[in-house]
Symmetry: C2
Subunit: 237 residues, 2 copies
């Protein structure tokens, strides 16, 4: 099992991934929010890439989460803060979801063996699921408008390091080596380091400091959302 | 002075750099080779992006260095090994130069305040030159066919760390933080780490092991090649 990392969705065309497991991560906050919604009972989530699509779903009566430049879109029921997706709001519900980076990355990487949703909050369950599939893995970092970002790169390093503890897992690519080196460098102090990231500073400006701490909690959920057709679901055991 | 890093030439459009100093690096081997050619007396170098352009210059009688998939192009006078650009071959000569990644990165980033050529072999002189210009800096890693590569990312970290030792230099972007963290992690053992990189393994397969050690020597040259129009030159003091 080889692990490769695509640090920006703008580079996805350079990576052969049709027969790989793709893990899309957007730590701040889309993939953390998706995991939270499923942990709180959401039935399924339809990720969409554009505000127009989200608005079209809304006009058809769907429940919609949509974020633009950190804030909730005015037409939407939810924004991109995991704190909004509480049990009373999402249990048993289907949700259409659109964010600046994460849902675009999901749509752009969908042509693969199996697309999984990853974040610190489901790290352990995600690791187990990847190992059970036994395929090569491409970790796709959602980044920030195409640029590389610290939090997704560090998550890629954390996941790669965790997978490397297992027999038969290799991370020989430059990208995987870089992510693992970053993770080893940052691991001891990673909350403080991520608090300095561009995205964390932006979230704090917008009043979402609590979301940062939440997004950095590790393995608090056992859910591993996966893409089936145009829906994200959580497989029932 | 802010430092930002573009880890792949495929992401250059995402970075505002028209009023910045751009440093293009391709440690293995194009920018190391360019520095070597100037240190050995080359008068100027014309970087070109494609084999067709290099061939056209050759047919007009120019001296041409051209590399395709690590090897010298059959029509060319030189390949991309710095060892070929000896004083007896290049002193006083103009050279047209085309490589898989480095010269494409130069052409793609040329629209800036001043484009400089960087590698470990001219790290100290490059640092002094950047500080004397006093502009924001974008370090452009040439990568490998658009993918991020270890050696250029580590060089970006080395250069950023060196610049950060000076007053008034900031590296607050996620990219700069990542490169510096990587450099701190790899610094003590960086020759061994880079020997494991994808590019180093490919160079060894092609018989260029000596080039790797050469490309990792630090600050052996005082030259800082810069782009003037379509030519790389070294400014006479």
């Amino acid at each position: 099992m080889q692990i490769e990392i695509c640090f920006s969705p703008s580079l996805i065309h350079l990576y052969e991934h049709r027969d790989s497991v793709v893990v899309v991560t957007d730590v701040f906050r889309a993939t953390t929010t998706i995991c939270t919604a499923f942990a709180n009972g959401a039935s399924y989530i339809i990720p969409v890439a554009t505000e127009q699509e989200a608005l079209a779903y809304k006009s058809l009566g769907h429940l919609v989460g949509a974020e633009q430049a950190t804030e909730r879109c005015s037409f939407a029921d939810f924004g991109n803060s995991p704190s909004e997706y509480s049990v009373d709001k999402v249990n048993g519900k289907a949700i259409v979801f659109m964010t600046t980076n994460g849902t675009k990355a999901i749509k752009g990487a969908a042509d693969c063996y199996q697309l999984l949703i990853g974040a610190f909050v489901n790290l352990q369950a995600l690791t187990e699921r990847i190992l059970s599939l036994g395929k090569d893995v491409l970790i796709v970092c959602s980044g920030a408008n195409g640029r590389i970002c610290l939090e997704d790169s560090l998550f890629a390093g954390a996941l790669t390091s965790t997978l490397l503890a297992e027999d038969g897992v290799e991370a020989a690519s430059d990208g995987a080596r870089m992510a693992v080196a970053l993770w080893h460098q940052a691991n001891r102090d990673f909350s403080n380091i991520l608090m300095q990231s561009e995205h964390a500073r932006r979230l704090i400006q917008h009043g979402f400091r609590a979301d940062i701490n939440y997004c950095l909690r590790r393995s608090i959920f056992g859910v591993v959302p996966e893409l089936q057709g145009d829906k994200l679901i959580v497989r029932k055991e």
